[in-house]
Structures are given as C-alpha cells and as structure tokens.
C-alpha cells in the first residue's frame, strides 16, 4: 500500500510527488530560459512551492507532523527571499532599465 485514505477514497503519494516534480521542472525551465529578472524570481517561488508540496505529502504519508512544520519554515524563508530579491531588483531598476538578466554582469570583473 503506497497511499492513504482521504475522505473515503484512496490517494497515492506518488501522484503528489509526480505533480511536485512537474512543477519543479517548470520552475527550472523558467529560471533557465526566461530573461526578465522578475520572472526568474517568480519561477524560484514556483520551485519552492513544489518542494513544499513534497514535504506535506510525505508528512501525510508518514502521519508525522514534522513535514508540515518544515513546510511552514520554508514558506517563511521563501517570503524573506522574495522580499530581499524584490528590494534588490527595485534598487537596480532605479538606476537603469534591465531587460535582460545578462546585462547585470558588473560583478564579473
């Protein structure tokens, strides 16, 4: 048995993990091929959410609450990451218009 009971019908943990994998992959594609720094931040949020889904799914499978608490922590970290990332972006955009993430290459030396 690889699933659990949810409201009378059997759900498979693998479905949740597969969905999380698909969402994570979509986020990875976005980070790799999109050029806009804002969209890249959005795609990172998508990946973090996919990781959250696996945490909560395993929490339900093992009937152990620790996974949900981990998910809560990672939500906090994601919020902090979004705030600081957006602040950096606003600061950069104040000086110049960035259409392409590759324009930001000053730190390369």
């Amino acid at each position: 048995m690889s699933g659990f009971d949810a409201g009378g019908s059997q759900l498979d943990t693998s479905w949740f993990l597969l969905l999380a994998a698909v969402l994570f992959i979509l986020g990875t594609i976005g980070v790799l091929i999109r050029r806009n720094p804002l969209v890249i931040l959005i795609c990172i949020e998508l990946m973090l959410n996919a990781a959250n889904l696996t945490l909560v799914a395993f929490s339900r499978q093992l009937q152990n609450l620790d996974g949900q608490l981990f998910a809560l922590m990672s939500m906090t970290v994601a919020a902090a990451e979004a705030v600081v990332g957006l602040a950096i972006l606003v600061d950069i955009f104040r000086h110049r218009d960035v259409e392409d993430i590759d324009d930001l290459s000053e730190l390369k030396g």
Partner: protein, 168 residues
Amino acid sequence: MAIVIFFIAAAMAVAGGIGVISFRQPIRSVLSLVVVMIALSVLFLLLSAQFIFVAQVIVYAGAVMVLFLFVIALLGPAKEIAKSRLRFQASLSALFVLALFGLLWAMLQGVTYRQPDKTVDMSIFGTVQSIGLGLFTKFLYPFELTSLLLLVAAIGAIYLSRKEGDDR
C-alpha cells in the same frame, strides 16, 4: 471524490505553471502563479494540512503575490525581448531539464513508502492546535530563528529600497 478534486487541482497547477513560464508580460506570470498557489492550497487540504492551507492562501497568494504585483506596478510593464544572446541556451536547458525529469520519474518507479511508525488520530492531524504544539515545543529554536530571519529580511529590504543620498 478526493481523486477528482486531486486531478482538477493538479491540472490547474500544471496549467498555471506553464502560464508562468510562457507569458511574455510579467504581470500575467504573477497571476498564473496565483492560480498555482490556489491549486496547491487545495492539495494541502487534501493532504489534511489545514494550517498550511490557510498559510498558503494568506502568506503566498495574499502577501507575497501582492508584493510582486506592487513591484511590477512600480517598475512598469517591461516586455521581455524574445531572443537571448546565447542561441543554444534554450535547447541545452531543455535537454538538461528533460534529463532531470527523467531522473525524478525513474526515482518514483516502483518506490515503496515507509509506513507510519504509529497511527495518529487523523481528526486532529494538521490542525492549528497540533501545529502550534509542534511549533512551540519541538521546533521552538527554528521558530525563534525564523523571527530573526524575518527581521533581517525586513531591515535589508528597507536599507536596499531607500533613496540615494538619504543618510538619515
């Protein structure tokens, strides 16, 4: 019934995820991400994680997405240029991502999950009481460190977003 709800929410999440990476305007990407968040919150409810469901809707779909919308409104609707300088990058990243997905898929084939060590009362699993009990006993130090992290993030955001030459 739960299976139907799962597949509807999963389809919504995947459609939203495709929307995030395929829309040209950032504002549409953000709104697609809101769809993903809402679909995921439904899935959290299916996984009997009530508190995570509420936190997902309020913190993510509410606060974080509003923050993104504010920033987009502040920066103006910058459209993305279609072509990148590295011409082979798109195909190369597609190859890499397909390999990663193949690995994840192979990992999920024929996997057997550990069974619960002890059966718990599922009627209180994931409620505010049980989450709060875990958060303030077993996870007290991580919880306090989280508050420090949020403080640092808030100070950093204020510092980064103040005006040039504003040394007060």
